[in-house]
């Protein structure tokens, strides 16, 4: 692994280049930097997904409380979620919040596929696609 102190302290890579005056040229440093990119993509996707889903859930619950209604005990069919949201029905927002939450890790996997493609790490493109395929199979086999 890279031994220079610049590589060990994970500061912003661009800033790092500015400070050291040279860019990280060794292949190891390149690998390190790419790994940071995959992690960065994943990090942002998880936070955005979590933010959207909790907002939808809180909004749905607030609508329920506002209309003095008891929250639904069953989720609507996947096809009805969006139309219920358009009608401002709480059940639509609650279901959407649940679905965004469930889909977030799946989107994280999709995001990693692109990140690995960008890195030309085709072994991990394959491995990650296999995970995605298993999830899609479960979506199909899990039909009620």
């Amino acid at each position: 692994m890279a031994e220079s102190p610049q590589d060990q302290i994970h500061v912003n890579p661009n800033l790092n280049d500015l400070v050291s005056g040279i860019s990280e040229t060794t292949q190891q440093a390149q690998v390190l930097r790419e790994q940071r990119d995959v992690n960065g993509v994943v990090h942002q996707m998880l936070i955005i997904g979590l933010g959207i889903s909790t907002s939808l859930m809180v909004f749905g619950l607030a609508l329920d409380l506002f209309f003095h209604r008891v929250p639904p005990t069953v989720v609507p069919n996947l096809g009805d979620v969006f139309s219920r949201m358009l009608e401002l029905r709480p059940s639509g927002f609650l279901a959407a919040g649940l679905l965004v939450l469930i889909i977030t890790p799946v989107l994280r996997v999709v995001g990693s596929i692109f990140a690995f493609l960008y890195e030309r790490d085709y072994l991990y493109v394959g491995i990650t696609m296999l995970v995605l395929i298993i999830v899609i199979v479960s979506m199909i086999l899990g039909k009620g």
Binding site: P105, V109, S138, G142
Partner: protein, 271 residues
């Protein structure tokens, strides 16, 4: 009939305890939801799996940001955990709820016994030439370099962990973390971060199945998930201060009480 707020509070409690003890909320949440509210076990499992995804995403983002997660290892082991979760999720919707309660009771006994917990790094932390990586230790600021031992065994354990997760709606970290640390030679921090990272996609695999079978009840799952998220935030801040043996012992007894309750339910069919 419990209100939304009371279910939310149960979630906060489970999330806090889980974060303080370093286990997911699921093993606490499901016995509370079935025992206190009398929910059917499959509804409790559906609510738990949603909370498990939420905590995995929240904690996962933090660990990934700190560079503690072995991303490539987790992607590879996820093949095994998602396959396990697929099989477990389909089994869960098909089998008799009493049988599920029985299996849950046995897993609770295992969790209680494994909780005496080895928190130190194994002495096998070294570069192996297979999936070698490194991270900066947050305490010392020194880089820790390590590789992976016994990969096939790790895949097998991941399948079992995914299977239990899909079947019972828990995260499965109680199985993966000891294997990753003791057998595969990951430093403890990396094992926890990597296991937690894998839990999200694993739980999503079975959650998709539960959702389509109507086992995710929004009036339960949503207040629970929001509560667990908040509780985990509080718990992880308190965690380092209250890491006492006393807390662990109390919790072990609590888990054994839960186990007895689940096994009783399995034998008598009480709902």
């Amino acid at each position: 009939m419990l209100t939304l707020f009371e279910i939310f509070l149960i979630g906060v409690g489970a999330g806090m305890l889980g974060a303080m003890l370093g286990i997911g909320g699921g093993v606490i949440l499901i016995p509370l939801l079935t025992g206190l509210i009398g929910l059917p076990i499959k509804t409790a499992i559906g609510a738990s799996i949603v909370s498990v995804i939420a905590t995995s995403s929240a904690a996962g983002a933090v660990y990934v940001g700190r560079g503690l997660t072995h991303t490539r290892l987790s992607m590879t082991l996820e093949i095994a955990t998602t396959l396990g979760a697929l099989a477990g999720g389909i089994t869960a919707v098909l089998i008799n709820p009493n049988l599920l309660a029985g299996i849950f009771g046995i897993v609770l006994v295992y969790v209680a016994l494994s909780l005496r917990g080895i928190k130190k790094d194994s002495d096998r932390v070294e570069e192996t030439g297979f999936l070698d990586t490194s991270y900066i230790d947050p305490l010392t600021g020194e880089p820790v370099k390590y590789g992976v031992h016994h990969f096939p065994l790790g895949m097998a354990a991941s399948f079992v962990a995914g299977n239990i997760s899909g079947l019972l709606g828990i995260g499965g970290g109680v199985i993966k973390v000891p294997i990753m640390s003791l057998v595969m030679g990951l430093p403890m921090r990396a094992a926890i971060a990597t296991s937690n990272f894998m839990i999200g996609i694993t739980a999503a695999t079975s959650a998709i199945i539960y959702y389509q079978h109507g086992y995710i009840d929004p009036s339960i799952a949503i207040p629970t998930a929001l509560g667990v998220l908040l509780g985990a935030q509080i718990g992880s801040r308190l965690g380092s201060r209250v890491q006492s043996h006393r807390l662990k012992q109390i919790f072990q007894i609590l888990l054994l009480v839960f186990a007895a309750q689940m096994l009783f339910r399995a034998l008598t069919g009480a709902t």
